[in-house]
């Protein structure tokens, strides 16, 4: 690990299978979390977990992309790559949150939406678009946190928050460095160079104005319970602070602030 501060080293950290997953953080952030299942159409796709949670008297809806740690878990979670059913499940929970006036917390951690035959047959593109469209209309506060890999539309699909955060060593990009290198230079091996060029670190994204703040991680990337708890507590603090602020806004304001936030991006 001699090149500690390169963008590529961040990519490796963000992808490290030992890194805490959404459910690991959720356990520490919320007093209680009850996972609920299914898109009510055809399936319970497990690359996105949805459920109800609370911190004290404040209830939340949680929508989280979930990678596995073991091979068995990863097969079950489809390596954290959602199929359309995952997005349709997320949409169901977004609408439910809106109905019961529960703020939504989303956790982003995916290589991207799954590029498969069935995913295309079932409208992967439409599912992502519809998920974003649903978020634009929600009259509840939304907080999105990129905890690991935030890659492409598959990540953004649950990313239209009033507040958007990244963990210090998370990445957020239009596609993977492998894809970038293979398209731009026709050489998928130039990934390290691609990662440097792509400006995908939390610092870059803060500079672009895409995220509101960076959530710090312990210096030592040693993935144990203490690490998870440390980061989870910082996320929790931020959620509590934001909810105080966002709850003072009217429903219309929440929608309009979100509009203005994304309206400005890139200008």
């Amino acid at each position: 690990m001699e090149k500690k501060n390169t963008a590529w080293s961040k990519v490796e950290i963000a992808r490290n299978p030992k890194r805490p997953t959404s459910l690991d953080y959720i356990k520490y952030i919320f007093d209680d979390f009850m996972e609920l299942h299914g898109d009510r159409i055809s399936k319970d796709d497990k690359a996105i977990c949805c459920g109800l949670a609370n911190i004290g008297n404040q209830n939340f809806t949680v929508i989280a992309q979930q990678k596995g740690r073991t091979t068995k878990e990863n097969i079950e979670r489809n390596f954290g790559m959602p199929n359309p059913e995952s997005y349709r499940k997320a949409i169901r929970f977004m609408k439910q949150a809106d109905k019961f006036n529960r703020p939504i917390i989303t956790f982003i951690d995916t290589k991207g939406a799954y590029p498969g035959v069935e995913a295309e047959e079932k409208g992967q593109g439409e599912a992502i678009a519809e998920s974003m469209l649903t978020m634009t209309k929600l009259k509840v506060p939304i907080i999105a946190i990129v905890i690991g890999e935030g890659s492409s539309g598959g990540a953004l699909a649950i990313g239209l928050g009033n507040k958007v955060y990244m963990l210090e060593n998370a990445i957020y990009s239009v596609l993977s460095p492998e894809g970038f290198a293979s398209i731009l230079w026709k050489d998928s091996k130039r990934t390290e160079e691609a990662a440097e060029k792509m400006k995908l670190t939390s610092k870059d994204l803060l500079n672009f104005g895409v995220i509101d703040e960076i959530i710090k991680e312990p210096k030592k990337q040693e993935y144990n319970e203490a690490f998870t708890e440390n980061v989870a507590m910082k996320i929790k603090e931020q959620i509590i602070k934001d909810i105080e602020e966002l709850k003072t806004m009217s429903k219309e304001e929440l929608v309009n602030v979100r509009y203005d936030k994304f309206r400005k991006m890139g200008c």
Partner: protein, 281 residues
């Protein structure tokens, strides 16, 4: 990912080392049936191959001519400079070269126009410009056009032709998906009609944002439309995909588009749909 498969096809189209020596300028060759076609004839045939019916991609101006009443197009006076957020060495030069070659400023043109006197806001993308990819300028322009439609209380028609988000502008391109979706959401709230017309190719971040959000979604026949690129999927599953995978017909069968419309009928079809949405009788 998506983009490069499409690029490869284009290379075939313009390959100057082809076996038959084609005089540049007056003649072109059909990518599909390989017949040599007189350009003038192709143009009169709505840029459809007279031999095999293959659809050639359309330049923005040609598309506008085919759809709108003569001289009714008024381009919005709204220009945004293409920036280089990733500070790539050759990106600005590439944009400049393309501008000279294609005679258009960016991959989309926005404005108002009329079909049989019915006024509408129209956005036309051009896959000849950086594969029609959506960077900040494309995102901005589509959003601006939709916002103008809300102000003017007009229906919106968007012709998509795009390889997806423009990776040369990194994550800012990705965010244009959110921006355009926000705009479509407001149009929806305003109760205004949005007709999305998918043309070859429509992929990635464009499919996964405004292109899939039309009240009515039309497609030209045999257009390639999808989220993930064909090659990426083939790599993932390790087998070749059938010829008709991700075509308009495939999407119609799976319930993701309303209707496949031939190029010659698009103008009338759009007009009829607008008329069906007129509020007063």
């Amino acid at each position: 990912m998506i983009v490069d498969k499409i690029k490869k096809r284009q290379v075939v189209q313009t390959n100057k080392k082809s076996r038959i020596d084609i005089p540049i300028g007056k003649w072109t060759r059909c990518d599909k049936c390989k017949n040599i076609i007189y350009k003038e004839e192709l143009r009169e045939n709505l840029s459809i191959c007279p031999y095999c019916g293959n659809y050639f991609k359309l330049h923005i101006n040609r598309r506008l001519d085919q759809i709108l009443d003569k001289d009714s197009y008024k381009r919005f006076d709204f220009e945004v400079e293409t920036k280089n957020p990733l500070e790539l060495d050759d990106y600005p030069k590439k944009i400049e070269t393309l501008r000279q070659k294609t005679n258009i400023l960016e991959a989309v043109s926005i404005g108002t126009g009329k079909i049989n006197g019915e006024e509408l806001v129209i956005c036309v993308m051009d896959s000849g410009f950086m594969m029609g990819s959506m960077g900040v300028v494309v995102g901005e322009k589509i959003t601006y056009a939709v916002e103008q439609a809300i102000k003017l209380k007009l229906p919106v028609v968007i012709f998509s032709a795009s390889g997806g988000a423009r990776m040369q502008e990194g994550v800012l391109s990705l965010m244009q998906m959110a921006k355009t979706t926000e705009a479509i959401s407001r149009l929806d709230e305003a109760g205004l009609l949005y007709i999305s017309v998918l043309t070859d190719p429509t992929y990635g971040g464009v499919t996964a944002s405004f292109a899939s959000l039309g009240d009515v979604i039309l497609a030209e026949p045999n257009a390639r439309i999808g989220f993930a690129g064909r090659r990426v999927i083939e790599q993932t599953i390790g087998t070749e995909l059938p010829e008709d995978f991700q075509t308009s017909e495939f999407l119609l069968e799976h319930g993701f588009i309303d209707k496949i419309v031939e190029r010659k009928d698009l103008r009338d079809t759009i007009y009829n749909i607008i008329k069906f949405h007129k509020k007063e009788v």
